[in-house]
Protein backbone atom coordinates (compact mmCIF):
# COMPACT_ATOMS: atom_id res chain seq x y z
CA UNK A 1 0.00 0.00 0.00
CA UNK A 2 2.82 2.37 0.92
CA UNK A 3 4.58 1.55 -2.35
CA UNK A 4 1.46 2.32 -4.34
CA UNK A 5 1.01 5.58 -2.43
CA UNK A 6 4.60 6.56 -3.20
CA UNK A 7 4.05 5.81 -6.91
CA UNK A 8 0.95 8.02 -7.03
CA UNK A 9 2.77 10.80 -5.17
CA UNK A 10 5.68 10.49 -7.58
CA UNK A 11 3.30 10.79 -10.54
CA UNK A 12 1.73 13.88 -9.01
CA UNK A 13 5.17 15.41 -8.56
CA UNK A 14 6.35 14.40 -12.02
CA UNK A 15 3.35 15.84 -13.88
CA UNK A 16 4.19 19.57 -13.53
CA UNK A 17 7.88 18.82 -14.07
CA UNK A 18 7.10 17.11 -17.37
CA UNK A 19 4.79 19.94 -18.38
CA UNK A 20 7.47 22.50 -17.52
CA UNK A 21 10.02 20.51 -19.52
CA UNK A 22 7.67 20.43 -22.50
CA UNK A 23 7.10 24.20 -22.26
CA UNK A 24 10.84 24.87 -21.98
CA UNK A 25 11.46 22.69 -25.02
CA UNK A 26 8.93 24.71 -27.03
CA UNK A 27 10.34 27.99 -25.76
CA UNK A 28 13.98 27.25 -26.47
CA UNK A 29 13.15 25.25 -29.62
CA UNK A 30 15.44 22.42 -28.55
CA UNK A 31 13.82 19.49 -30.34
CA UNK A 32 13.93 19.00 -33.21
CA UNK A 33 16.99 21.21 -33.08
CA UNK A 34 16.12 24.78 -33.97
CA UNK A 35 12.76 24.00 -35.59
CA UNK A 36 9.39 24.83 -34.10
CA UNK A 37 6.49 23.29 -35.98
CA UNK A 38 2.96 24.63 -35.87
CA UNK A 39 0.42 22.46 -37.65
CA UNK A 40 -2.75 24.29 -38.42
CA UNK A 41 -5.91 23.24 -40.19
CA UNK A 42 -8.27 26.07 -41.10
CA UNK A 43 -11.04 26.38 -38.57
CA UNK A 44 -8.90 25.17 -35.67
CA UNK A 45 -8.02 27.72 -33.01
CA UNK A 46 -4.29 28.35 -32.71
CA UNK A 47 -2.26 30.71 -30.53
CA UNK A 48 0.21 31.11 -33.39
CA UNK A 49 -1.84 31.60 -36.53
CA UNK A 50 -5.07 33.55 -36.92
CA UNK A 51 -7.95 32.70 -39.18
CA UNK A 52 -8.05 34.01 -42.73
CA UNK A 53 -9.45 37.53 -43.10
CA UNK A 54 -11.31 39.63 -44.06
CA UNK A 55 -14.66 37.87 -43.75
CA UNK A 56 -15.91 39.58 -46.91
CA UNK A 57 -13.23 37.82 -48.99
CA UNK A 58 -13.32 34.35 -47.46
CA UNK A 59 -16.09 31.82 -46.91
CA UNK A 60 -17.02 30.19 -43.62
CA UNK A 61 -14.99 27.10 -42.79
CA UNK A 62 -16.69 23.90 -43.86
CA UNK A 63 -15.76 20.21 -43.88
CA UNK A 64 -14.85 18.31 -47.03
CA UNK A 65 -15.80 14.68 -47.65
CA UNK A 66 -12.88 13.47 -45.55
CA UNK A 67 -13.93 15.67 -42.63
CA UNK A 68 -11.06 18.12 -43.08
CA UNK A 69 -11.54 21.85 -42.70
CA UNK A 70 -11.72 23.93 -45.87
CA UNK A 71 -12.01 27.67 -46.37
CA UNK A 72 -12.50 29.35 -49.73
CA UNK A 73 -10.83 32.63 -50.66
CA UNK A 74 -13.20 34.42 -53.00
CA UNK A 75 -11.62 37.85 -53.42
CA UNK A 76 -8.15 39.32 -53.45
CA UNK A 77 -6.31 39.78 -51.17
CA UNK A 78 -7.04 37.58 -48.14
CA UNK A 79 -4.59 37.58 -45.29
CA UNK A 80 -3.71 36.08 -41.93
CA UNK A 81 -1.51 37.03 -39.00
CA UNK A 82 1.24 34.90 -37.52
CA UNK A 83 2.42 35.30 -33.92
CA UNK A 84 5.86 33.83 -33.23
CA UNK A 85 6.19 33.11 -29.54
CA UNK A 86 9.69 34.58 -29.38
CA UNK A 87 10.69 37.96 -30.73
CA UNK A 88 13.79 38.32 -32.92
CA UNK A 89 14.62 34.66 -32.37
CA UNK A 90 13.77 32.90 -35.60
CA UNK A 91 15.70 33.30 -38.84
CA UNK A 92 13.28 31.74 -41.24
CA UNK A 93 9.58 30.96 -41.52
CA UNK A 94 8.59 28.18 -43.89
CA UNK A 95 4.97 27.57 -44.77
CA UNK A 96 3.43 24.45 -46.20
CA UNK A 97 0.14 25.52 -47.71
CA UNK A 98 -2.43 22.86 -48.65
CA UNK A 99 -4.77 24.24 -51.27
CA UNK A 100 -6.83 23.60 -54.38
CA UNK A 101 -6.78 25.90 -57.37
CA UNK A 102 -8.87 24.98 -60.37
CA UNK A 103 -8.74 28.10 -62.50
CA UNK A 104 -6.49 30.90 -61.24
CA UNK A 105 -3.41 31.40 -63.44
CA UNK A 106 -1.08 32.42 -60.59
CA UNK A 107 -1.43 32.17 -56.81
CA UNK A 108 1.21 33.62 -54.52
CA UNK A 109 1.80 34.12 -50.82
CA UNK A 110 3.31 37.40 -49.67
CA UNK A 111 4.89 38.46 -46.41
CA UNK A 112 4.44 42.09 -45.39
CA UNK A 113 7.89 43.61 -45.66
CA UNK A 114 7.15 47.31 -45.27
CA UNK A 115 4.27 49.67 -44.49
CA UNK A 116 3.36 53.06 -45.92
CA UNK A 117 2.86 51.86 -48.53
CA UNK A 118 2.33 48.21 -47.73
CA UNK A 119 4.87 46.15 -49.66
CA UNK A 120 4.90 42.37 -49.75
CA UNK A 121 7.65 39.92 -50.60
CA UNK A 122 5.84 37.43 -52.80
CA UNK A 123 6.59 33.77 -53.42
CA UNK A 124 4.69 31.49 -55.79
CA UNK A 125 2.30 28.85 -54.56
CA UNK A 126 0.96 27.79 -57.92
CA UNK A 127 1.74 28.99 -61.43
CA UNK A 128 -0.57 27.19 -63.83
CA UNK A 129 0.87 29.11 -66.79
CA UNK A 130 4.14 27.26 -66.20
CA UNK A 131 2.72 23.97 -64.95
CA UNK A 132 0.31 23.61 -67.86
CA UNK A 133 2.67 24.84 -70.57
CA UNK A 134 3.44 22.42 -73.37
CA UNK A 135 6.95 23.84 -73.81
CA UNK A 136 9.96 21.74 -72.85
CA UNK A 137 10.61 22.16 -69.15
CA UNK A 138 13.84 21.89 -67.15
CA UNK A 139 13.74 21.99 -63.33
CA UNK A 140 17.04 22.57 -61.51
CA UNK A 141 17.77 23.93 -58.03
CA UNK A 142 14.47 25.72 -57.67
CA UNK A 143 14.66 27.25 -61.14
CA UNK A 144 12.44 26.39 -64.09
CA UNK A 145 13.31 26.92 -67.74
CA UNK A 146 10.60 26.63 -70.38
CA UNK A 147 11.71 26.49 -74.02
CA UNK A 148 9.54 26.90 -77.09
CA UNK A 149 12.10 24.90 -79.08
CA UNK A 150 14.41 22.31 -77.57
CA UNK A 151 17.72 24.20 -77.53
CA UNK A 152 19.22 23.78 -74.06
CA UNK A 153 19.72 20.54 -72.12
CA UNK A 154 20.36 22.16 -68.79
CA UNK A 155 20.25 25.51 -67.03
CA UNK A 156 24.03 25.53 -67.04
CA UNK A 157 23.89 25.44 -70.86
CA UNK A 158 21.32 28.24 -70.82
CA UNK A 159 23.41 30.52 -68.62
CA UNK A 160 26.62 29.67 -70.51
CA UNK A 161 25.13 30.75 -73.83
CA UNK A 162 22.04 32.82 -73.02
CA UNK A 163 19.62 34.07 -75.64
CA UNK A 164 19.00 37.78 -76.11
CA UNK A 165 16.95 39.62 -73.47
CA UNK A 166 14.02 40.03 -75.85
CA UNK A 167 13.58 36.27 -76.08
CA UNK A 168 13.24 35.65 -72.35
CA UNK A 169 10.39 36.24 -69.93
CA UNK A 170 11.06 35.94 -66.22
CA UNK A 171 8.95 35.06 -63.22
CA UNK A 172 10.18 35.85 -59.70
CA UNK A 173 13.83 35.74 -60.75
CA UNK A 174 16.45 37.78 -62.56
CA UNK A 175 17.96 37.32 -65.98
CA UNK A 176 21.49 38.56 -65.67
CA UNK A 177 22.18 39.63 -69.22
CA UNK A 178 22.89 43.34 -68.75
CA UNK A 179 20.68 45.92 -70.42
CA UNK A 180 22.58 48.34 -72.64
CA UNK A 181 21.46 51.20 -74.91
CA UNK A 182 24.03 51.27 -77.67
CA UNK A 183 23.00 54.63 -79.12
CA UNK A 184 22.81 56.39 -75.73
CA UNK A 185 24.63 59.70 -75.51
CA UNK A 186 24.80 61.66 -72.23
CA UNK A 187 23.70 65.28 -72.25
CA UNK A 188 23.99 68.20 -69.85
CA UNK A 189 20.32 69.13 -70.19
CA UNK A 190 18.46 69.14 -66.89
CA UNK A 191 14.96 67.70 -66.69
CA UNK A 192 12.48 68.42 -63.92
CA UNK A 193 9.75 66.14 -62.65
CA UNK A 194 7.15 68.55 -61.38
CA UNK A 195 4.86 66.17 -59.52
CA UNK A 196 4.25 65.53 -55.83
CA UNK A 197 5.43 62.06 -54.87
CA UNK A 198 4.42 61.02 -51.39
CA UNK A 199 6.63 58.73 -49.31
CA UNK A 200 8.68 55.73 -50.42
CA UNK A 201 9.37 55.34 -54.14
CA UNK A 202 11.83 53.40 -56.27
CA UNK A 203 13.05 54.15 -59.76
CA UNK A 204 15.65 53.00 -62.25
CA UNK A 205 17.94 55.17 -64.30
CA UNK A 206 20.61 54.65 -66.95
CA UNK A 207 24.17 55.91 -66.68
CA UNK A 208 26.81 56.02 -69.40
CA UNK A 209 29.91 58.21 -69.15
CA UNK A 210 28.13 60.74 -66.94
CA UNK A 211 27.62 61.75 -63.34
CA UNK A 212 24.54 60.48 -61.59
CA UNK A 213 22.83 63.57 -60.28
CA UNK A 214 19.43 64.10 -58.68
CA UNK A 215 18.16 67.06 -56.71
CA UNK A 216 15.11 66.26 -54.58
CA UNK A 217 12.98 69.11 -53.24
CA UNK A 218 10.60 67.92 -50.58
CA UNK A 219 8.37 69.00 -47.70
CA UNK A 220 7.95 67.31 -44.35
CA UNK A 221 4.21 67.72 -43.81
CA UNK A 222 4.24 66.35 -40.22
CA UNK A 223 0.85 64.67 -40.45
CA UNK A 224 1.88 61.52 -38.57
CA UNK A 225 3.82 61.03 -35.36
CA UNK A 226 7.50 60.17 -35.56
CA UNK A 227 10.73 61.17 -37.25
CA UNK A 228 10.74 61.71 -40.99
CA UNK A 229 14.20 60.85 -42.24
CA UNK A 230 14.86 60.89 -45.99
CA UNK A 231 17.37 58.39 -47.29
CA UNK A 232 18.07 58.00 -51.00
CA UNK A 233 20.27 55.06 -51.95
CA UNK A 234 21.66 54.03 -55.32
CA UNK A 235 22.14 50.33 -56.11
CA UNK A 236 24.15 48.96 -59.01
CA UNK A 237 23.19 46.01 -61.23
CA UNK A 238 24.53 43.59 -58.63
CA UNK A 239 22.24 45.08 -55.98
CA UNK A 240 25.13 46.69 -54.12
CA UNK A 241 24.72 50.21 -52.70
CA UNK A 242 27.08 52.60 -54.47
CA UNK A 243 25.92 56.00 -53.26
CA UNK A 244 23.64 57.54 -50.69
CA UNK A 245 22.22 60.88 -49.60
CA UNK A 246 20.45 61.39 -46.31
CA UNK A 247 18.54 64.16 -44.54
CA UNK A 248 17.35 64.13 -40.94
CA UNK A 249 13.98 65.05 -39.53
CA UNK A 250 12.94 68.72 -39.39
CA UNK A 251 12.80 68.53 -35.60
CA UNK A 252 9.03 68.23 -35.48
CA UNK A 253 8.07 64.65 -34.67
CA UNK A 254 4.44 65.40 -33.84
CA UNK A 255 1.37 65.09 -36.06
CA UNK A 256 0.45 68.78 -35.88
CA UNK A 257 0.74 69.24 -39.68
CA UNK A 258 2.95 72.30 -39.14
CA UNK A 259 5.48 72.80 -41.95
CA UNK A 260 8.12 75.15 -40.59
CA UNK A 261 10.85 74.68 -43.11
CA UNK A 262 9.03 74.81 -46.45
CA UNK A 263 10.88 73.17 -49.30
CA UNK A 264 14.03 71.32 -48.29
CA UNK A 265 16.64 70.06 -50.71
CA UNK A 266 18.57 66.84 -50.91
CA UNK A 267 21.35 66.39 -53.44
CA UNK A 268 22.38 62.94 -54.64
CA UNK A 269 25.54 62.75 -56.74
CA UNK A 270 27.72 59.81 -57.75
CA UNK A 271 30.78 60.15 -59.98
CA UNK A 272 32.52 57.70 -62.28
CA UNK A 273 29.86 55.01 -62.26
CA UNK A 274 30.31 52.35 -64.92
CA UNK A 275 27.70 52.08 -67.65
CA UNK A 276 24.54 50.33 -66.58
CA UNK A 277 21.12 50.45 -65.00
CA UNK A 278 20.96 51.81 -61.44
CA UNK A 279 18.14 51.48 -59.01
CA UNK A 280 17.42 54.43 -56.73
CA UNK A 281 15.39 53.88 -53.56
CA UNK A 282 13.76 56.96 -52.02
CA UNK A 283 13.20 55.62 -48.53
CA UNK A 284 11.11 57.79 -46.25
CA UNK A 285 7.75 58.08 -44.49
CA UNK A 286 4.36 59.15 -45.81
CA UNK A 287 4.91 62.56 -44.20
CA UNK A 288 7.50 63.44 -46.81
CA UNK A 289 6.24 64.84 -50.13
CA UNK A 290 8.82 65.11 -52.91
CA UNK A 291 7.62 68.19 -54.78
CA UNK A 292 10.13 68.08 -57.61
CA UNK A 293 13.11 66.09 -58.85
CA UNK A 294 15.76 67.62 -61.09
CA UNK A 295 18.19 65.41 -62.96
CA UNK A 296 20.56 65.36 -65.90
CA UNK A 297 19.77 61.68 -66.46
CA UNK A 298 17.77 61.03 -69.59
CA UNK A 299 16.17 57.77 -68.53
CA UNK A 300 14.13 57.40 -65.39
CA UNK A 301 11.27 54.99 -64.69
CA UNK A 302 9.46 54.48 -61.40
CA UNK A 303 8.78 50.89 -60.37
CA UNK A 304 5.38 49.36 -59.62
CA UNK A 305 3.98 52.06 -57.33
CA UNK A 306 3.34 55.77 -57.58
CA UNK A 307 1.74 57.81 -54.86
CA UNK A 308 0.83 61.19 -56.31
CA UNK A 309 0.37 63.29 -53.17
CA UNK A 310 -2.02 66.13 -52.50
CA UNK A 311 -0.63 69.64 -52.77
CA UNK A 312 -2.23 71.21 -49.71
CA UNK A 313 0.22 73.76 -48.33
CA UNK A 314 2.32 73.64 -51.50
CA UNK A 315 0.29 75.07 -54.33
CA UNK A 316 -3.37 75.85 -55.01
CA UNK A 317 -5.06 74.49 -56.96
CA UNK A 318 -3.37 71.12 -57.07
CA UNK A 319 -1.89 70.33 -60.46
CA UNK A 320 -2.09 66.54 -60.23
CA UNK A 321 0.26 64.68 -62.55
CA UNK A 322 0.71 63.31 -66.03
CA UNK A 323 2.68 60.11 -66.44
CA UNK A 324 3.34 57.37 -68.99
CA UNK A 325 3.29 53.60 -68.76
CA UNK A 326 3.22 50.45 -70.87
CA UNK A 327 1.33 48.54 -68.19
CA UNK A 328 -2.02 47.22 -69.26
CA UNK A 329 -3.58 46.88 -65.84
CA UNK A 330 -3.37 49.54 -63.18
CA UNK A 331 -5.12 49.98 -59.85
CA UNK A 332 -5.97 53.34 -58.29
CA UNK A 333 -7.02 54.37 -54.82
CA UNK A 334 -7.51 57.60 -52.91
CA UNK A 335 -7.95 57.85 -49.15
CA UNK A 336 -9.72 61.20 -49.07
CA UNK A 337 -12.92 62.70 -50.46
CA UNK A 338 -10.77 65.44 -52.01
CA UNK A 339 -9.02 62.74 -54.05
CA UNK A 340 -12.19 61.67 -55.86
CA UNK A 341 -11.55 62.38 -59.56
CA UNK A 342 -11.53 61.01 -63.08
CA UNK A 343 -8.35 59.53 -64.51
CA UNK A 344 -7.76 59.97 -68.22
CA UNK A 345 -5.79 57.29 -70.06
CA UNK A 346 -5.64 57.88 -73.80
CA UNK A 347 -9.25 57.74 -74.92
CA UNK A 348 -10.40 55.95 -71.77
CA UNK A 349 -11.46 57.38 -68.45
CA UNK A 350 -11.73 55.86 -64.99
CA UNK A 351 -13.75 57.33 -62.15
CA UNK A 352 -12.22 57.13 -58.69
CA UNK A 353 -15.66 57.52 -57.16
CA UNK A 354 -15.03 57.11 -53.44
CA UNK A 355 -12.18 56.90 -50.93
CA UNK A 356 -10.67 53.60 -49.79
CA UNK A 357 -11.91 51.75 -52.87
CA UNK A 358 -9.49 50.25 -55.38
CA UNK A 359 -10.38 50.89 -59.04
CA UNK A 360 -8.84 48.89 -61.87
CA UNK A 361 -8.05 50.29 -65.30
CA UNK A 362 -7.42 47.81 -68.11
CA UNK A 363 -5.86 49.03 -71.32
CA UNK A 364 -6.04 47.22 -74.63
CA UNK A 365 -3.69 49.21 -76.86
CA UNK A 366 -0.02 48.30 -77.08
CA UNK A 367 2.73 50.80 -76.40
CA UNK A 368 3.21 53.76 -74.13
CA UNK A 369 0.02 55.29 -72.74
CA UNK A 370 -0.36 58.83 -71.36
CA UNK A 371 -2.36 59.15 -68.14
CA UNK A 372 -3.54 62.25 -66.36
CA UNK A 373 -4.61 62.69 -62.77
CA UNK A 374 -6.24 66.11 -62.44
CA UNK A 375 -5.76 66.58 -58.68
CA UNK A 376 -3.48 63.91 -57.23
CA UNK A 377 -3.80 62.29 -53.78
CA UNK A 378 -3.95 58.91 -55.48
CA UNK A 379 -1.96 55.69 -55.08
CA UNK A 380 -1.30 53.81 -58.32
CA UNK A 381 -0.13 50.20 -58.36
CA UNK A 382 0.87 48.09 -61.34
CA UNK A 383 3.32 45.41 -62.35
CA UNK A 384 5.35 47.71 -64.52
CA UNK A 385 6.95 51.07 -64.82
CA UNK A 386 6.01 54.75 -64.98
CA UNK A 387 7.80 57.77 -66.37
CA UNK A 388 6.92 61.45 -66.32
CA UNK A 389 7.82 62.05 -69.96
CA UNK A 390 7.82 59.74 -72.98
CA UNK A 391 11.54 60.28 -73.61
CA UNK A 392 12.40 59.20 -70.06
CA UNK A 393 10.65 55.88 -70.43
CA UNK A 394 12.73 52.73 -70.83
CA UNK A 395 12.25 49.16 -69.72
CA UNK A 396 15.54 47.71 -68.51
CA UNK A 397 13.96 44.55 -67.10
CA UNK A 398 13.06 41.46 -69.09
CA UNK A 399 9.39 40.98 -69.81
CA UNK A 400 7.65 39.55 -66.78
CA UNK A 401 5.22 36.65 -66.71
CA UNK A 402 2.09 37.61 -64.80
CA UNK A 403 -1.49 36.53 -64.34
CA UNK A 404 -2.89 38.88 -66.96
CA UNK A 405 -1.25 37.35 -69.96
CA UNK A 406 -0.27 33.99 -71.39
CA UNK A 407 3.18 32.78 -72.28
CA UNK A 408 2.28 32.85 -75.99
CA UNK A 409 1.15 36.47 -75.75
CA UNK A 410 4.52 37.53 -74.37
CA UNK A 411 6.19 36.78 -77.68
CA UNK A 412 9.22 35.12 -76.12
CA UNK A 413 10.93 31.78 -76.66
CA UNK A 414 12.01 31.12 -73.07
CA UNK A 415 10.57 31.53 -69.59
CA UNK A 416 12.96 31.56 -66.66
CA UNK A 417 11.29 31.21 -63.27
CA UNK A 418 12.22 30.70 -59.65
CA UNK A 419 9.47 28.23 -58.93
CA UNK A 420 8.82 24.76 -57.62
CA UNK A 421 5.55 23.17 -58.59
CA UNK A 422 3.43 22.13 -55.61
CA UNK A 423 3.38 18.41 -54.79
CA UNK A 424 0.16 16.43 -54.59
CA UNK A 425 -1.18 15.05 -51.32
CA UNK A 426 -4.48 13.30 -51.89
CA UNK A 427 -6.75 15.84 -53.51
CA UNK A 428 -4.62 18.77 -52.36
CA UNK A 429 -1.66 20.65 -53.75
CA UNK A 430 1.04 21.39 -51.19
CA UNK A 431 3.40 24.30 -51.78
CA UNK A 432 6.41 25.13 -49.64
CA UNK A 433 7.13 28.83 -49.23
CA UNK A 434 10.15 30.15 -47.30
CA UNK A 435 10.42 33.66 -45.85
CA UNK A 436 13.46 35.26 -44.29
CA UNK A 437 12.38 36.54 -40.87
CA UNK A 438 14.37 39.79 -40.95
CA UNK A 439 12.67 40.70 -44.23
CA UNK A 440 9.25 40.68 -42.56
CA UNK A 441 7.65 43.73 -40.98
CA UNK A 442 6.89 42.99 -37.35
CA UNK A 443 4.47 44.85 -35.12
CA UNK A 444 3.35 43.69 -31.67
CA UNK A 445 5.22 40.43 -32.29
CA UNK A 446 3.01 39.74 -35.28
CA UNK A 447 3.73 39.11 -38.94
CA UNK A 448 1.20 39.55 -41.71
CA UNK A 449 0.90 37.27 -44.73
CA UNK A 450 -1.39 37.73 -47.68
CA UNK A 451 -2.61 35.45 -50.44
CA UNK A 452 -2.36 37.07 -53.85
CA UNK A 453 -4.87 35.61 -56.28
CA UNK A 454 -5.19 38.03 -59.21
CA UNK A 455 -8.28 37.68 -61.42
CA UNK A 456 -10.12 35.72 -58.73
CA UNK A 457 -13.14 37.99 -58.88
CA UNK A 458 -13.11 38.44 -62.65
CA UNK A 459 -13.06 34.66 -63.15
CA UNK A 460 -15.52 33.98 -60.31
CA UNK A 461 -12.92 31.55 -59.00
CA UNK A 462 -12.14 30.20 -55.55
CA UNK A 463 -8.91 29.27 -53.85
CA UNK A 464 -9.60 26.50 -51.34
CA UNK A 465 -7.27 26.40 -48.35
CA UNK A 466 -7.08 23.34 -46.12
CA UNK A 467 -3.93 23.62 -44.01
CA UNK A 468 -1.22 26.17 -43.30
CA UNK A 469 1.63 24.44 -41.48
CA UNK A 470 4.48 26.61 -40.29
CA UNK A 471 8.04 25.81 -39.39
CA UNK A 472 9.85 28.51 -37.44
CA UNK A 473 13.56 27.90 -37.94
CA UNK A 474 16.44 29.16 -35.83
CA UNK A 475 19.88 28.54 -37.30
Amino acid sequence: MTFLTRIVQLLLLATPLVVMGWLLNRWFVLYPLGVFLVEHEVGDASPFIDELKPETRVSDVYEDEQGGGVQAITADPAFFFLHPHRKDFFDQVVFEVWFQNKSLPIVELGGLARVNPETYTLFPLHNRLIDESSWKRIDEDGLVLLQREDRYDSLADFFADPPSRDEVAVYRTNFDVPYRIEAYQPTAAVQTIDASLRGHHEFKTYIKNETLSFTFRYMDMNRDDGEDVVQVTVFNEQGQPVSEARAGDDGNTSDDAVVDHGLKELQLTAYSLPEGVYKVVMNTTRDVFFRSIQTSQQKMVFLNTLFIGDEVGYREPSEGATFYTESKRLRFQTRHAEGVQTVTAGTQTLDIAQPYEWYTLTLADEGLERMTLPTGDVEIVTEGKFSFSPSQYFNPDPVSLNAYTTIEQLGVDYVLAEYQSPRKEGGWLVATVPFVAWDLYEEDQTWKFSFSAPLIEELGAELLVHRIDTRFIQY
Binding site: M1, V8, P16, M20, L23, R26, P47
Partner: protein
Protein backbone atom coordinates in the same frame (compact mmCIF):
# COMPACT_ATOMS: atom_id res chain seq x y z
CA UNK B 1 16.76 11.04 20.59
CA UNK B 2 14.27 9.27 18.35
CA UNK B 3 12.43 11.10 15.56
CA UNK B 4 8.93 9.89 14.86
CA UNK B 5 7.68 10.72 11.42
CA UNK B 6 4.03 11.55 11.38
CA UNK B 7 2.16 8.85 9.48
CA UNK B 8 -0.77 9.66 7.23
CA UNK B 9 -3.28 7.26 5.75
CA UNK B 10 -2.56 6.65 2.02
CA UNK B 11 -5.47 8.70 0.64
CA UNK B 12 -4.65 11.64 2.89
CA UNK B 13 -0.99 11.42 1.89
CA UNK B 14 -1.88 11.45 -1.81
CA UNK B 15 -4.33 14.35 -1.48
CA UNK B 16 -1.86 16.24 0.68
CA UNK B 17 0.85 15.83 -1.99
CA UNK B 18 -1.61 16.72 -4.73
CA UNK B 19 -2.60 19.92 -2.94
CA UNK B 20 0.98 21.06 -2.34
CA UNK B 21 2.15 20.14 -5.84
CA UNK B 22 -0.79 21.92 -7.51
CA UNK B 23 -0.39 25.02 -5.33
CA UNK B 24 3.36 25.21 -5.98
CA UNK B 25 2.82 24.57 -9.69
CA UNK B 26 0.17 27.28 -9.87
CA UNK B 27 2.54 29.83 -8.35
CA UNK B 28 5.53 28.78 -10.47
CA UNK B 29 3.65 28.56 -13.79
CA UNK B 30 1.77 31.78 -13.09
CA UNK B 31 5.00 33.63 -12.31
CA UNK B 32 6.63 32.15 -15.42
CA UNK B 33 3.74 33.47 -17.48
CA UNK B 34 3.99 36.90 -15.84
CA UNK B 35 7.73 37.09 -16.52
CA UNK B 36 7.34 35.82 -20.09
CA UNK B 37 3.77 36.46 -21.29
CA UNK B 38 2.47 33.54 -23.29
CA UNK B 39 5.04 31.07 -22.00
CA UNK B 40 2.24 28.99 -20.49
CA UNK B 41 -0.97 30.65 -21.59
CA UNK B 42 -0.31 30.03 -25.31
CA UNK B 43 -0.78 26.32 -24.64
CA UNK B 44 -3.19 26.04 -21.70
CA UNK B 45 -4.70 28.11 -18.93
CA UNK B 46 -2.46 28.41 -15.90
CA UNK B 47 -5.62 28.36 -13.78
CA UNK B 48 -5.89 24.61 -14.37
CA UNK B 49 -3.42 24.33 -11.48
CA UNK B 50 -5.65 26.54 -9.32
CA UNK B 51 -8.59 24.29 -10.08
CA UNK B 52 -6.48 21.26 -9.13
CA UNK B 53 -5.42 23.03 -5.93
CA UNK B 54 -9.03 23.68 -4.94
CA UNK B 55 -10.11 20.12 -5.76
CA UNK B 56 -7.19 18.54 -3.89
CA UNK B 57 -7.65 21.00 -1.02
CA UNK B 58 -11.36 20.24 -0.58
CA UNK B 59 -10.78 16.49 -0.81
CA UNK B 60 -7.86 16.68 1.59
CA UNK B 61 -9.94 18.61 4.12
CA UNK B 62 -12.60 15.90 3.90
CA UNK B 63 -10.20 13.09 4.81
CA UNK B 64 -8.01 15.05 7.21
CA UNK B 65 -7.79 13.17 10.50
CA UNK B 66 -5.71 15.55 12.57
CA UNK B 67 -5.19 19.26 11.93
CA UNK B 68 -1.99 20.77 13.23
CA UNK B 69 -1.80 24.52 13.69
CA UNK B 70 1.33 26.18 12.35
CA UNK B 71 0.80 29.88 13.00
CA UNK B 72 4.38 30.89 12.27
CA UNK B 73 4.27 29.29 8.81
CA UNK B 74 0.93 30.95 8.11
CA UNK B 75 2.20 34.39 9.08
CA UNK B 76 5.36 33.91 7.04
CA UNK B 77 3.31 32.91 4.01
CA UNK B 78 0.95 35.86 4.44
CA UNK B 79 3.88 38.29 4.65
CA UNK B 80 5.52 36.75 1.57
CA UNK B 81 2.27 36.96 -0.36
CA UNK B 82 1.88 40.57 0.78
CA UNK B 83 5.28 41.48 -0.61
CA UNK B 84 4.52 39.76 -3.94
CA UNK B 85 1.15 41.51 -4.21
CA UNK B 86 2.71 44.87 -3.37
CA UNK B 87 5.34 44.47 -6.09
CA UNK B 88 2.74 43.41 -8.66
CA UNK B 89 0.40 46.25 -7.72
CA UNK B 90 3.24 48.76 -7.99
CA UNK B 91 3.88 47.56 -11.53
CA UNK B 92 0.25 47.43 -12.61
CA UNK B 93 -0.84 50.72 -11.00
CA UNK B 94 1.64 52.85 -12.93
CA UNK B 95 -1.11 55.09 -14.36
CA UNK B 96 -3.06 55.62 -11.15
CA UNK B 97 -1.04 58.57 -9.86
CA UNK B 98 -1.73 59.46 -6.21
CA UNK B 99 -3.73 56.25 -5.69
CA UNK B 100 -0.71 54.12 -6.39
CA UNK B 101 0.92 54.23 -2.95
CA UNK B 102 -2.30 53.57 -0.93
CA UNK B 103 -3.15 50.70 -3.28
CA UNK B 104 0.29 49.17 -2.83
CA UNK B 105 0.04 49.48 0.96
CA UNK B 106 -3.40 47.87 0.93
CA UNK B 107 -2.14 45.03 -1.26
CA UNK B 108 0.79 44.50 1.12
CA UNK B 109 -1.34 44.18 4.25
CA UNK B 110 -4.33 42.41 2.65
CA UNK B 111 -3.07 38.81 3.18
CA UNK B 112 -2.16 39.32 6.86
CA UNK B 113 -5.44 41.20 7.39
CA UNK B 114 -7.40 38.35 5.84
CA UNK B 115 -5.50 35.81 7.92
CA UNK B 116 -6.28 37.75 11.09
CA UNK B 117 -9.98 37.84 10.20
CA UNK B 118 -10.03 34.10 9.59
CA UNK B 119 -8.27 33.45 12.88
CA UNK B 120 -10.55 35.76 14.84
Amino acid sequence: MIWHQKTLNPLEAILHTGFLVSLTSYIVFWLADVVQPGFVSRYFSVHIFLLATVVFGVLWSMVLEEYEQRPLVHVALAITLGVVLAVLTWGLADDLGVYRVPLVLFAAIAPILLYSLIRA
